[in-house]
Symmetry: none
Subunit: 220 residues, 2 copies
DNA sequence: ATTCTATCCGCACTAATGTTCTAAAAGTAA
DNA sequence: TTACTTTTAGAACATTAGTGCGGATAGAAT
């Protein structure tokens, strides 16, 4: 198999992403901008090369006439192995101001409406009472979580000290993700970003909703 | 659900068939011919109706900017228990001051020494040139990455705009994770934490080492 | 019949988008 | 170096393909 140049790899991955996002292929100029290429002719040149190499199909004189070659004998450099996975429901999104989505008592028996996410069992554990939320906006930046991140949570009404959890401040009726420290009559909530200050509340003003198992941020 | 006219049904099924066959959507004129419609404006008219009805997505002023609305009630997926995974080598740790671990040319052929991490193939892709690093310390807090996080990277010497990457500032001989924006003669590096300021450098002072595919933070 | 609304026709207009050409730059081999 | 191939640039060009508009048609309601 012909080795792809850096630029060609970038073009390929751009096309993949673009189709993934829009359901239709990009134009030459879309690729040009997305890959910071100076001229449409360079894109055309490389698309032809990729076509010759069999990486993609191209129909000339057809706008957006691109499609990825069905991945055939290639791409198996590393043989994929099979691992056990757990399907975790994506219950919704969290954003500043919006109510914090929580699984209802009967949610677990009816996950039909929600999207499922496969996660390796090794990191989720048995997977009971585990669910995922997608973060919208930068409201959790204190917890080192940004827009688009996926937060994997496990329903719990108490957590051990130091654990990051979704906690509700009853008096404010706000919910945030903080590191939880029980200190007897008071409870200290500490942002994951240790450059920021912690706050303490009366313990009975703080309610633990779920503990945070993991954060998954996909950028590629 | 709104009932579709004869013509609209024909258009829908034509679009399905066309995409099935070509991997890209038809133009208005393709539809016109395929459905024996006398005028492009009639096609446009009905496409708008179909969009209103939620049957398909349409992007105006975009050629072939059509896609079928994802059919909701079908998607009868059974709960998967196994997924394909790719073993990714954990090459080491990154910490402030320490040199940035990079795969050597021959590293890929000898992964015996390094620990392997299984990640879902859907996330990593084919897995070529992908490796993982464990973060030590809070030096990457600007990138919303903290101590203990696992960073999944793919070796690349260039990335497209907006991508988070490991970049080296040659004049400083420092390496950081930043969002990369090529702006001709200069390159802008933007922290993931958008509350912080971006910096720009001469493009030839910036070297891309790897692109960041994902960040995995395990807290549980 | 009259009016109204939903559709359909043709056609011109223009924005979107692929192609081509020439030249320069970068890389390679002799 | 010189000669040769590959890749990049820039810009004009040509075709593709979406849009808009005046007017026709066809039912349906009044």
């Amino acid at each position: 198999m012909v080795k792809l140049s850096e630029r060609q790899q970038m073009i390929m991955s751009f096309i993949e992403d673009f189709i993934e996002e829009n359901d239709y292929p990009p134009t030459i100029r879309d690729i040009q901008n997305g890959c910071s290429i100076s001229s449409t002719s360079v894109v055309a040149y490389n698309l032809d090369k990729l076509k010759e190499g069999g990486q993609l199909n191209r129909h000339s004189e057809v706008s957006r006439g691109l499609s990825l070659a069905s991945v055939g004998p290639n791409s198996n450099k590393f043989k994929p192995t099979e691992i056990d996975s757990v399907a975790v429901p994506l219950l919704g999104t969290i954003a500043a101001g919006s109510p914090f989505p929580m699984p209802e008592n009967d949610t677990w028996s009816d996950l039909s409406g929600s999207e499922l996410i496969d996660l390796p069992q090794a990191i989720v554990g048995p997977g009971d009472n585990v669910y995922a939320l997608k973060v919208r906006g930068e409201s959790m930046i204190d917890a080192l979580i940004s827009d688009g991140d996926l937060v994997i949570m496990e329903q719990a009404s108490s957590v051990r000290n130091g654990q990051m959890a979704a906690v509700r401040i009853k008096s404010d009726n706000t919910t945030t993700l903080k590191n939880f420290y029980s200190e007897g009559p008071r409870t200290r909530l500490e942002p994951a970003n240790s450059q920021m200050d912690a706050m303490t509340f009366p313990s009975n003003d703080v309610e633990v909703l779920s503990k945070v198992l993991a954060v998954w941020r996909y950028l590629g």
